[in-house]
């Protein structure tokens, strides 16, 4: 297991952002890169590899990876729908959107479709409350969701 050259360059650049001996600070940013590079989740060998790069104990990586909600500790689908369910989104109908996605994809929250394409997650406020209901899909925010928009997003992913 190894990072691509590009990623490795980024990793070293990140480590250089912190003072000498404080390389552990780069852990979160590097885990983001690792998750992107290794299929969207952090398997134990991946975390051990990151620990070796930073010269820290594997346990220091595990405890961090399990603390933050953006790190996946089991495989996820190619597209992860992360739908916000907190107060301001709820007021604008996020519950209906979540039910609709469940029905369309025929999965429950936390599950992945059998074809490995979609995972549905509920998340807490993502800082888009004025554009609710919303979800995160990869790097993008999809806002002002409606059933039609959900249909279009699913179609877009399948294409």
């Amino acid at each position: 297991m190894e990072f691509s050259n590009d990623s490795l360059k980024k990793v070293h650049e990140l480590i250089s952002h912190y003072p000498e001996g404080k390389q552990k600070s780069a852990l979160l940013p590097i885990l983001h890169i690792a998750q992107k590079e290794f299929d969207g989740w952090l398997d134990v060998p991946v975390m051990d590899y990151v620990a070796s790069i930073l010269n820290i104990e594997p346990i220091e990586v595990y405890e961090v990876a399990t603390f933050y909600s953006m790190f996946n500790l089991k495989p996820v689908g190619k597209y992860v729908f992360e739908v916000c369910q907190t107060g301001p989104c709820m007021v604008k109908g996020s519950d209906d959107i979540i039910s609709y996605i469940k029905e369309k994809l025929d999965i429950s929250v936390g599950e992945t479709t059998p074809d490995g394409l979609f995972t549905l997650k509920t998340v807490e406020c993502l800082g888009a409350c004025g554009y609710a209901p919303m979800m995160q899909l990869g790097k993008t925010y999809r806002e002002h969701l409606s059933k039609e928009k959900v249909d279009a997003i699913i179609a877009e992913c399948k294409n």
Binding site: H17, P19, K22, K24, S25, A26, L27, L28, P29, L31, H32, L54, I56, E60, E63, V64, F67, Y68, S69, M70, F71, Q85, T86, G87, P88, M90, V91, K92, V123, E124, C125, L126, G127, A128, C129, G130, Y131, A132, Q136, K139, T140
Partner: protein, 448 residues
């Protein structure tokens, strides 16, 4: 029209680029600041009356002057761009549309507090915003505003962005510092405060995005000019992110002299309640601040018009008032269920509790469970008192203020909407299919 000093240029085409930002007068404050003594900048910020925009409203100049300055020890400025308080999305707006305003403010503030390496801790989900800021930092470095010997002043400064990974608690400043050190975001016991022992045990200032961006105008126009905007101890302008059942959700810059009524109903701001509905309640400063029924929101208990500023929003204390908080302004219409809304927030705080303190870890879970019960028609009258009791036992008994942040929304909901809770319990079948409606919470408005 309110005076705009932060968002004035937000709509200028390509203002995200150095070229346009410079043409519009950008980085003037840096040129000016580098000719000043760092202490004079701190004094200028003190004179401005600027209060931290992250939620607590602590005077920024004062915070800077508390910074310990032992010889030979690095000092750090850390910008808090974690923005995860439900209802709050103003920092994102500022960074997305005016990245250079933040970077300019960061360099000036770094110079003032003597930080040669400064960090922006941004919530992990804002990945595309990180790209925008990275591009701005690159441009600033190319222009000679970052790096060694900036504009020949002898001052060196680098700014790095550090992405979080999804944890509300990393917005709390010591949780943030732990996270920046590559650990779990567990808040530290204070004292020592970050001003003495912060990032890697060095003296550190943590400031919100909007706070740092406001420094630009304070240096350009002077602290006195800034202090003349607004009223009383609410000087300058404030970004409000408005959401919920209103016609025009979005981010607005206000000068803190306008009334809550004007903010909600005028076309310049929220544009009134959506779908011709009536106003029922509002959480005026982010999910952690007390919810107010319409009747107490528009006028204070004394019958005065309530204004959109620190003093007026908190007038009456928690008995009849709320707080300015982070400026996350959530409006609820007559169709919204207070029990369900409170439950949603209780779930949020339970999910986000870091688990270090038993009152917070156990209390947040317990409150969520009881609210689930009431919301699903299985509540008992004694549950209301139990909820009250639990929230009281969290408050003041925890390491960090997340405990209070979880307790206050529940306390305020019971304080002001007790009959709605009782109705849920007395009408278990009905509450599953219909909302309580306006009740008596909006009398002031229905008659007007």
């Amino acid at each position: 029209m309110s005076k705009k000093i932060l968002l004035e240029k937000a709509n200028v085409e390509n203002i995200q680029t150095m070229e346009v930002y410079r043409r519009e007068g950008g980085y003037r404050s840096l040129e000016k600041a580098l000719k000043m003594a760092p202490n004079d900048i701190v004094e200028e910020v003190k004179r401005s009356g600027l209060r931290g925009r992250g939620g607590a409203g602590f005077p920024t100049g004062l915070k800077w002057s508390f910074l310990a300055k032992p010889e030979g020890v690095e000092r750090y400025l850390v910008c808090n761009a974690d923005e995860s308080e439900p209802g709050t999305f103003k920092d994102r707006y500022l960074m997305e549309f005016l990245p250079h305003l933040l970077i300019e403010g960061m360099i000036v503030s770094s110079f003032a507090v003597g930080s040669n390496v400064s960090y922006i801790y941004i919530r992990g989900e804002y990945e595309w915003v990180t790209d925008i800021l990275d591009a701005a930092i690159d441009e600033a470095r190319k222009a000679g505003f970052l790096g060694k010997n900036i504009l020949g002043s002898g001052f060196d400064c680098e700014i790095y962005i550090h992405r979080g990974a999804g944890a509300y608690i990393c917005g709390e400043e010591t949780g943030l510092l732990e996270s920046l050190e590559g650990k779990r975001g567990l808040p530290r016991i204070k004292p020592p405060f970050p001003a003495v022992k912060g990032l890697w045990d060095c003296p550190t200032v943590v400031n919100n995005v909007e706070t740092i961006a406001s420094v630009v105008s304070i240096i350009n126009e002077g602290g006195d000019a800034y202090a003349r905007i607004g009223v009383g101890k609410s000087t300058g302008t404030k970004l409000i992110s408005a959401c919920g059942n209103i016609n025009k959700p979005g981010v607005y810059e206000i000068d803190m002299t306008i009334s809550v009524e004007e903010f909600i109903y005028s076309d310049e701001y929220c544009g009134g309640i959506a779908n011709g509905k009536k106003l029922k309640a509002c959480v005026p400063g982010g999910s952690s601040v007390p919810i107010l029924p319409a009747s107490l929101l528009l006028t204070t208990a004394k019958g005065e018009k309530r204004l959109m500023n620190y003093e007026s929003l908190s007038d009456g204390g928690f008995a009849t008032g709320s707080m300015m908080g982070s400026g996350g302004f959530e409006v609820l219409d007559e169709d919204q269920c207070i029990v369900r809304h409170t439950l949603s927030l209780a779930r949020f705080y339970h999910h986000e509790s870091c688990g270090q303190c038993s009152p917070c870890r156990e209390g947040t879970g317990w409150m969520e469970k009881i609210l689930q019960k009431i919301e699903h028609g299985k509540g008992e009258m004694k549950d209301i008192d139990l909820l009250w009791d639990i929230q009281r036992k969290i408050e003041g008994n925890t390491i960090c203020p997340l405990g209070e942040a979880a307790a206050w929304p529940v306390a305020a909901a019971i304080r002001h909407f007790r009959d709605e809770f009782e109705w849920h319990i007395l009408n278990p079948k009905e509450c599953l299919v219909r909302n309580y409606g306006l009740g008596k919470y909006a009398e002031a408005l229905i008659t007007s």
